[in-house]
Symmetry: C2
Subunit: 283 residues, 2 copies
């Protein structure tokens, strides 16, 4: 599909939770691009998408989602916002979704692998699949210290230790956040999510400089499907839990409203920095 033709087609936002689907839609409309939101029931937030052309869809009804996007003249799609991992057992699925599941096989149980299969399925229908980073690049973490608070002595060792563990864990395609304090790994994220990870590590922390949250992309993570995200709640929780700061992968992590978030971190006396994810730093 030629770029000119794409421009005439709408951009479809497959909307999960949080404020990002709305921010992306607003940004695109400012730029004169028409948007259409397919909002996942039980995941997308009604208030966030209310002002935009949208339709509620169910996660397991793949053919319906594809049909609705086509009927609404969508030529390019972006997946935005967390969807969580539904229990396949509880999900109402159509034949198309089951076909995707069959293609995915065991990969269906792994976040990124499954998302890659879904991306391929959209592409087979002629959609261009783009990354939120392409459109909200002022939300991406940049390298180095981002706020006014400098990391305390020893924080770099904790960041290095966290990166080393996450890099080893990366091929497993599980969560990619970790909390380290003075070299000790307090917690590793799996399905519980970063907010819960921060909370429990706050209860496990020791005397001394506060723990550091480190968040990287997974090895081979599709940037088109899912980027690690830090929002106001992350900062609030990390501060409440006595953390010293947050290190995220530069160009590989979304900071929702980056400038505002960095201000919030400054006020909470948290350092916030973007790091080179090394082997994980893929585009």
């Amino acid at each position: 599909m030629a770029a000119a033709q794409q421009q005439q087609l709408k951009l479809g936002i497959l909307a999960g939770g949080g404020v990002l689907p709305g921010q992306l839609a607003a940004r695109l409309e400012e730029q004169g691009r028409e948007v259409f939101i397919a909002a996942f029931e039980d995941h997308a937030e009604a208030a966030v998408i209310a002002g935009f052309d949208h339709h509620w869809v169910r996660l397991g009804l793949a053919q319906q989602i594809i049909d609705i996007l086509k009927q609404n003249n969508v030529g390019e799609v972006v997946m935005v916002g967390p969807v969580g991992r539904p229990s396949l057992r509880e999900l109402k699925t159509d034949a198309r979704f089951l076909k995707i599941l069959t293609k995915a096989g065991l990969k269906a149980f792994r976040d990124d692998a499954f998302l890659s299969v879904i991306i391929a399925e959209f592409e087979s229908e002629g959609f261009v699949v783009s990354s939120i980073g392409d459109y909200l690049n002022d939300h991406l973490a940049v390298i180095g210290q981002m706020g006014g608070i400098s990391p305390p002595t020893g924080a770099q060792d904790d960041i290095d230790r966290g990166c080393a563990v996450l890099t080893q864990l990366s091929p497993s395609d599980v969560g990619q956040a970790i909390v380290v304090q003075e070299g000790v790994v307090l917690g590793i994220e799996a399905i519980e999510g970063t907010d819960n990870l921060i909370h429990r590590c706050g209860l496990l922390k020791r005397a001394g400089p506060g723990p550091v949250l480190i968040k990287l992309c997974k090895d081979g993570q599709s940037r088109r499907a899912d980027l690690p995200t830090i929002g106001p709640e992350t900062i609030r929780r990390a501060a409440a839990a006595g953390f010293s700061g947050i290190a995220v992968q530069a160009n590989g992590c979304i900071l929702v409203d980056r400038d505002m978030l960095v201000q919030q971190a400054d006020q909470a006396r948290l350092f916030i920095c973007g790091i080179d994810g090394g082997a994980n730093d893929r585009s």
Copy 2:
């Protein structure tokens, strides 16, 4: 030191938490071996060691521990029971402990590496350092199904997935327990301990067959310092959290009172099996 000479010397138990120090002491006394327990304050349980010749010691006072063992004619030591990771900042330490810390360097922050340094220090003082598995081998997990409950369909896939992730994580020297349900990693253990891991994964589980707890030795884990352990509380929590069963590394995991524990698992309708840990299965 000749074996005959060792036999005349006492066996020193460096006692952490739980009932195992007492069980080991009782077993040895039954066999006519004299024991002496150096019980770590804040870790060992007074009721467990009460009936045996013992002395309370503080973790950071290394020279005192060595002196007490020698004064009590100890020639061989076994470390038994969890000690937890003290904050070095809060620990009262003597010069000897600081020397060990200096030798350990950054390894001091990693469980097994630090324990290896401590073992070497004991050996440099002429002590033989043995493994609890040498004396309580009827507490070790054996290969295959250990109770009357068979793993449900799909449990083997969960066990394989868990082993694969733990094997990848293993060189990092963090926790070696994981919970998997239908291929989804619900939780990975770091410093919080297996009991907390089970509890939170119970809250995260989905419909369908219950999650499986998998517990392996770490790569290069010193069997003389620390073996993964499953006790009655593990079974109780796993049952309360709706797990389907537990898989542990055969010959690499202690089941406290194995026969009783397997009975308890049967009653709770949990399968319990010993697995070959593959690359992790070291002696």
